[in-house]
């Protein structure tokens, strides 16, 4: 099992390795942990404005967007936000609510674009749409609840930065989904879990 190498979403999964059978909770936990690790890495990168997020934490969601079912993608998004809230300690603050709203909007839009566009839309396009959705929701919430109506002026540069970040993260996700052995393994195991459930 070395590469997904253009494997289509409906293709037969790779056989699982010997050893204990994974559960959906295992897959969600590891993917959420990778998302939190990515957000830790992002923390180290200097940004033009402190509120801006590049969105590396969305990489696990993106590489699984054509693999996972919709409800499992939402579960992964919730697990990611919950884990970030607990580990960073922001669970009881507005940061958590903003993050939750942005992530859920982003996942909903990414699922919609992926389903509607099929293989005609790359992960770059899906990621950009998700980044825009997340930024629109977060900027709207900021304007409504924190900064006040005059702060709409910050929306255009934020959305522009969001597009740039979305393209970059989408490109990285495209590369990983084609080349990563780990992504291939998770993909194969997920499909076996679904087969085992008879769905």
């Amino acid at each position: 099992m070395t590469s997904l190498g253009g494997q289509s979403p409906g293709a037969l999964p790779d056989p699982p390795s010997s050893g204990p059978a994974p559960s959906l909770t295992d897959l969600l936990a590891l993917l959420a942990a990778v998302a939190i690790f990515c957000s830790t890495l992002e923390y180290l990168i200097p940004k033009p404005v402190p509120f801006f997020r590049i969105g590396f934490a969305n990489l696990p969601l993106l590489v699984m967007i054509r693999v996972f079912r919709g409800r499992h993608l939402f579960s992964l998004a919730l697990a990611k936000v919950l884990g970030q809230g607990l580990i960073n300690g922001t669970l009881a603050s507005y940061v958590f609510l903003f993050s939750l709203a942005g992530t859920l909007a982003s996942v909903a839009v990414m699922i919609g674009v992926a389903r509607a566009g099929g293989n005609r839309v790359s992960l770059v396009g899906i990621s950009t749409a998700g980044a825009l959705a997340s930024n629109v929701v977060q900027v709207s919430l900021s304007v409504l609840f924190i900064f006040g109506p005059r702060s709409w002026v910050m929306a255009p540069p934020f959305l522009l930065l969001g597009v740039v970040a979305g393209v970059s993260v989408g490109g990285l996700a495209e590369y990983l989904s084609r080349r990563s052995r780990w992504v291939a393994r998770i993909t194969g195991d997920y499909r076996h879990i679904l087969l085992g459930r008879g769905s």
Binding site: L30, A33, L82, G89, T90, A92, S180, R181, R185
Partner: protein
């Protein structure tokens, strides 16, 4: 992010559950507070609590938040003009509203940082999932030295496949992760008293203003 920076006394005497419940109990008193001076003192105090809880505070980030929120509220003039800077009239109402809102937002983050600890147990399936997330995250952080810049993808794959295999094998139970070792499962009497005292203090500061 880890518990390793947390003050040892807190780890030994205050459980994650007590800390979280304490944070939730003082939240209404904090939010209902309307006095700007008390709000300022609260923010400083909760910032100190967050530091004692082992959290790293990015002061530049919080100062930028305060400055930005205040600036946007200054654009809506209200009340007496304090000073005029070119086109901008700094009014007392705008300044107070902006500062109050900014301090409230920053204080909320500090309360959350101080009261939410990585070993907080959530009930049910969410708790099982959270335990596995923490275990996996700790494993990734511990093995991150295995990442090689020259072969980032291959070494990253090896690292994640290794963590995945260990997760499937059960290995260390998620509930006994490194994050939980040496932390209080139940709060001691002094620990409970400290948390209760902080909660009572916030309510006294609020109710004192009404009488």
């Amino acid at each position: 992010m880890s518990l390793r920076r947390q003050h040892p006394w807190m780890l030994r005497n205050i459980s994650a559950r007590t800390l979280f419940l304490g944070g939730m109990a003082l939240l209404p008193a904090y939010l209902l507070q309307e006095n700007l001076t008390i709000r300022f003192v609260q923010v400083l105090f909760f910032g100190w609590c967050a530091l004692r809880a082992g959290k790293r505070l990015q002061w530049a980030y919080f100062l930028t938040i305060i400055a930005t929120i205040t600036l946007f509220h200054l654009l809506i003039p209200s009340g007496r003009v304090l000073v005029t800077l070119g086109m901008l009239r700094i009014t007392r109402g705008g300044l107070e509203t902006g500062l109050f809102k900014a301090l409230t937002v920053v204080g909320l983050v500090f309360i959350s940082l101080a009261s939410v600890r990585a070993d907080l147990r959530l009930p049910g399936r969410a708790g099982t999932l959270a335990g596995k997330i923490f275990w996996s995250f700790e494993q990734i952080m511990e093995r991150r030295d295995q990442l090689e810049p020259r072969r980032l993808l291959a070494s990253g794959d090896d690292l994640l496949l290794g963590v995945y295999e260990d997760l499937l094998l059960g290995g260390e139970l998620p509930s006994d992760t490194l994050a939980r070792k040496g932390t209080a499962r139940r709060s001691s009497l002094p620990g409970s008293l400290v948390v209760s005292g902080i909660v009572v203090l916030q309510w006294v500061a609020l109710l004192g203003g009404f009488f």
